[in-house]
Symmetry: C2
Subunit: 220 residues, 2 copies
């Protein structure tokens, strides 16, 4: 278990950029992963990188990925394949006094490692619950269970959070004292938020169903 | 020029998934790229995939990427390096009657090709304007120009939109007729939107500046 260990700062996960804070608390990694709705999964295909958006979920120090995405190209050996899973939350556009200091506020996590297929039925059921709880909390209890045919058709990958880094920028523009004193233009941050709209009932609902609380009251 | 050509559907950009529509209009590619605030750039580093969020902008059939992100690891030869640039817009969570049919509505673009450094000063200035116009429309005119030192320090990559694919899902749950008739649970879509909050002026503004229109009236 590495649940209380700080994030590893291997050379691979160290991205040297000015004013971008490297976050070393493991709780920050969890927070980024738990808030983001999707990740971007990078794999190697025919010697070139391929990046695909995909659903995922976290349980402790493991994330589970919905393996169907681009699955035709992912021939997963049991020993796993090298992947990079990146999760990004955009928090704001940073307007600086100079073009050069324009930036973004964001939180991002980069996880490197070997993704492995989850084959054991009990572990796979657990992984599907973790992914469902992430995508649609409450649905695991509300919707029909996965049946045997669906269970066989779906594939799930697991990836340990052993080699991961978190970066965050959460501040105003980074202009020089001279630029600030020159006082020539506005500077500040335009916040970005992800929000949910009103639930849209399916057109083919036969009876009048109330929108269930796990959908109606979902907070971003 | 391939501006009016349909999207190429090479084997590499064809991701076979049920109910995910492959979009072949080039205008759909432009629309996804122009709406998204960031992309995820996949590169190969020491034989393993690395995926980093980065700012970008589009001009015609070229996208420009801010090359500073993770730049320490990107030793760009003039002939370019293989990259995958993926852009994803999340539009909704799809709640189905069964766990298995839960999904997301989204639009995504995957671009494969060789990213090349933009070295010619005039082309690099243009690329910086394109990236700025994408990140912060209006700032190129409002903020201080890039000076010689900043210009030398920044790096920009270009990538042609020659090999690209767009996928989109924009519909309700995909349950079977039997499942719909069984009528056992709610089904529908919870829309997702990205919105801007109120602009937050920088704490170090000396005079009382009104928020300029290009920030105040920015629409997602």
């Amino acid at each position: 278990m590495t649940a209380v260990a700080p994030l590893s700062a291997t050379e691979r996960t160290t991205l040297g950029r000015r004013k971008i804070r490297a976050v070393t608390e493991r709780s920050a990694l969890y927070a980024v992963l738990d808030e983001a709705l999707i990740c971007h999964l990078g794999v190697l295909r025919e010697g070139a990188p391929l990046v695909l958006p995909t659903g995922f979920g976290r349980d402790g120090d493991t994330i589970y990925l919905h393996g169907s995405t681009g699955a035709s190209s992912l021939r997963l050996a049991n020993e796993g394949i090298d992947v990079c899973v990146t999760v990004t939350l955009l928090d704001g556009i940073v307007y600086a006094r100079s073009i050069n200091n324009h930036s973004m506020n964001y939180r991002s996590a980069v996880i490197l490692g070997k993704a492995r297929p989850v084959l054991d039925p009990e572990a796979k059921t657990h992984a599907l619950k973790v992914i469902t709880d992430h995508l649609a909390p409450g649905s695991w209890e509300h919707a029909r269970d996965v049946n045997a045919k669906e269970f066989a058709a779906v594939s799930v990958l697991s990836l340990d959070l052993a080699e991961a880094s978190v970066k965050a920028r959460a501040e105003g523009p980074d202009d020089s004292p001279e630029e600030i004193a020159a006082n020539l233009s506005w500077a500040g941050v335009l916040p970005i938020r992800t929000v949910y709209g009103d639930p849209e009932p399916s057109a083919d609902l036969i009876a009048e169903f109330p929108v269930p609380p796990h959908v109606l009251n979902r907070a971003p």
